[in-house]
């Protein structure tokens, strides 16, 4: 679904992405993992057009992204940090997104508000967002990502800040949508979570993809039984 080739991004003089090549398959869950500062969030933001690449290209379904915005009607995004205008309510925020999408939402059907019930967010919807806890705001964040029945879902550390119940609800939702054909790209530091959710894995280190493939391939290639040990193995190999 997504083909990334030779993607380069610098912040000032600091190189973040140094020629990323990656194919993300349709209908699968791809986890992007790597140490802090490896470029995971930058890679995601470049796919979304939030960051502009200095070189290389991102091709979505055969169409190279070049600053157009219409493709985002098919994309859902859950950012890492959930901070919203303080005095708005979650209900108002959701309404704003619906109104913004109204003109580009041809035939996507009614918004998917299943997570509102699953998270029991109903009573929180009409309170100002500043009064909600960090975890509750993160739930609102998750609701917004799924709201428009996207074909591509991009999640940046989706379960960070969620309690175990909410985290399970979110993972169940990801599984269910994946079975229905959704393509998911997520970043995570929790290897257990990656093991549970992902089909494919891309290991990013210092701005390059050091491994990309199915989870089982990684375990076989490193001759490790668990993902955590396989990744640790990759990192020590790199260091050696």
């Amino acid at each position: 679904m997504i083909e990334i080739a030779g993607l380069v991004k610098r912040y000032g003089r600091l190189p973040v992405l140094q020629g990323v090549n990656l194919r993300i398959a349709r209908g699968r869950v791809t986890a992007i993992v790597g140490p802090n500062g490896a470029g995971k969030t930058t890679l995601i933001k470049t796919i979304l057009g939030l960051s502009r690449a200095d070189g290389g290209r991102v091709v979505l379904d055969g169409v190279q992204l070049n600053g157009g915005v219409d493709y985002r009607a098919r994309v859902g995004y859950m950012p890492q940090i959930a901070r919203f205008p303080e005095n708005l309510t979650a209900a108002e925020l959701l309404r704003l997104l619906k109104e913004l999408r109204a003109s580009t939402d041809h035939g996507r059907g009614t918004p998917d508000e299943e997570l509102i019930d699953r998270f029991a967010l109903g009573p929180q919807l009409d309170k100002p967002l500043r009064t909600l806890s960090g975890g509750t705001r993160q739930k609102v964040n998750a609701v917004m990502a799924f709201l428009f029945r996207p074909e591509l879902l991009i999640l940046d550390e989706p379960t960070a800040g969620l309690d175990p119940v909410a985290s399970s609800v979110l993972k169940d939702k990801i599984h269910a949508e994946r079975r229905a054909g959704l393509t998911v790209v997520l970043t995570s530091h929790l290897m257990g979570e990656v093991d549970e959710l992902a089909d494919d894995i891309a290991f990013l280190l210092e701005g390059r993809v050091r491994f990309a493939g199915a989870l089982d391939e990684l375990k076989a290639a490193t001759r490790q039984a668990t993902l955590e040990r396989a990744i640790a193995r990759l990192m020590t190999q790199e260091a050696a």
């Binding site: 915005v69 219409d70 995004y77 950012p79 901070r83 005095n87 708005l88 003109s103």
Partner: protein, 267 residues
């Protein structure tokens, strides 16, 4: 297509307005203007004198509040901006929405604080109406200028403390340092004809521009001696149109500068 695009701006403005209007800072600002206006009308001895004192409030306070509010708002709205940019929304539209969504409530807060006391104290005559209208319009114009400057600075500066520092420095430059520098220049070059350079210097600073526009309405320009005479002559010869155009350019330039920075920026 264009109707749909305009729709994006209007929607962002509507929700941002709803957010900002409930902010305690905006309420405090409107109340401060209101109490100052009320006090000056009550104890300042007559509407015209109150208006003259209010001129100084407008020239100092409006740019400062717009600068600080504009900078802080943009830094605080960073994640919100990101969220909206992940929607099928063009950057120019979002920028226009964010800008209007802040400049509008700030202008309304100022107008409310200024006009409400006049509504119950009353306006004496036509000349006072003209003063009040000029004051209201220059206040709104300065709000637009300094919110735009604040946005342009905040978009170009990653670090929020530094961005706020730069924005306040720009306010200081325009509201205080600039006049000192111009005065110094006049003293040093006193032997030369300075009419044109002085008018150019006035046009190059939005606060000076607003100040001159206001003072010219008060019939006190005779008190300003040499400079007053220069401006009297300038405004007599179609200078008013030039000054108003210059003020409009002062709104447009930083807005466009900010739009460019917004287009290029990584979020």
């Amino acid at each position: 297509m264009s109707a749909m695009r305009g729709g994006v701006i209007a929607r962002v403005v509507r929700y941002e307005l709803r957010d900002v209007i409930k902010s305690r800072w905006l309420l405090g600002y409107a109340l401060f203007v209101l109490l100052t206006t009320d006090a000056l009308l009550r104890f300042g001895g007559g509407g015209t004198r109150a208006l003259l004192s209010l001129t100084n409030v407008v020239l100092l306070l409006v740019p400062l509040v717009s600068t600080v509010f504009g900078t802080m708002y943009l830094y605080n709205a960073r994640e919100f901006t990101e969220l909206l940019l992940a929607q099928p929304v063009r950057r120019d539209e979002l920028y226009a929405g964010l800008y209007l969504g802040l400049a509008l409530p700030l202008a309304l807060g100022f107008l409310g604080g200024l006009l409400v006391p006049f509504a119950y104290h009353g306006v004496d005559d036509a000349s006072q109406w003209r003063l009040l209208a000029t004051l209201a319009l220059t206040g709104v114009a300065l709000t637009c200028v300094f919110v735009a400057l604040a946005f342009a600075i905040a978009l170009r500066t990653e670090d929020r403390a530094r961005g706020l520092g730069v924005a306040i420095a720009v306010w200081l430059l325009f509201s205080l340092l600039y006049d000192g520098l111009v005065l110094l220049g006049v003293m040093l070059l006193g032997d030369y004809p300075l009419e044109r350079p002085l008018i150019a210097a006035m046009l190059a600073n939005p606060i000076d521009l607003a100040r001159v526009l206001l003072i010219m309405q008060f019939d006190v320009s005779a008190l300003m001696g040499y400079t007053g005479a220069v401006f009297e002559k300038f405004f007599g010869n179609g200078g008013m149109a030039v000054a108003i155009t210059a003020l409009a350019a002062w709104v447009a330039a930083p807005v466009l500068l900010g739009a460019r920075a917004f287009r290029k920026r990584d979020f």
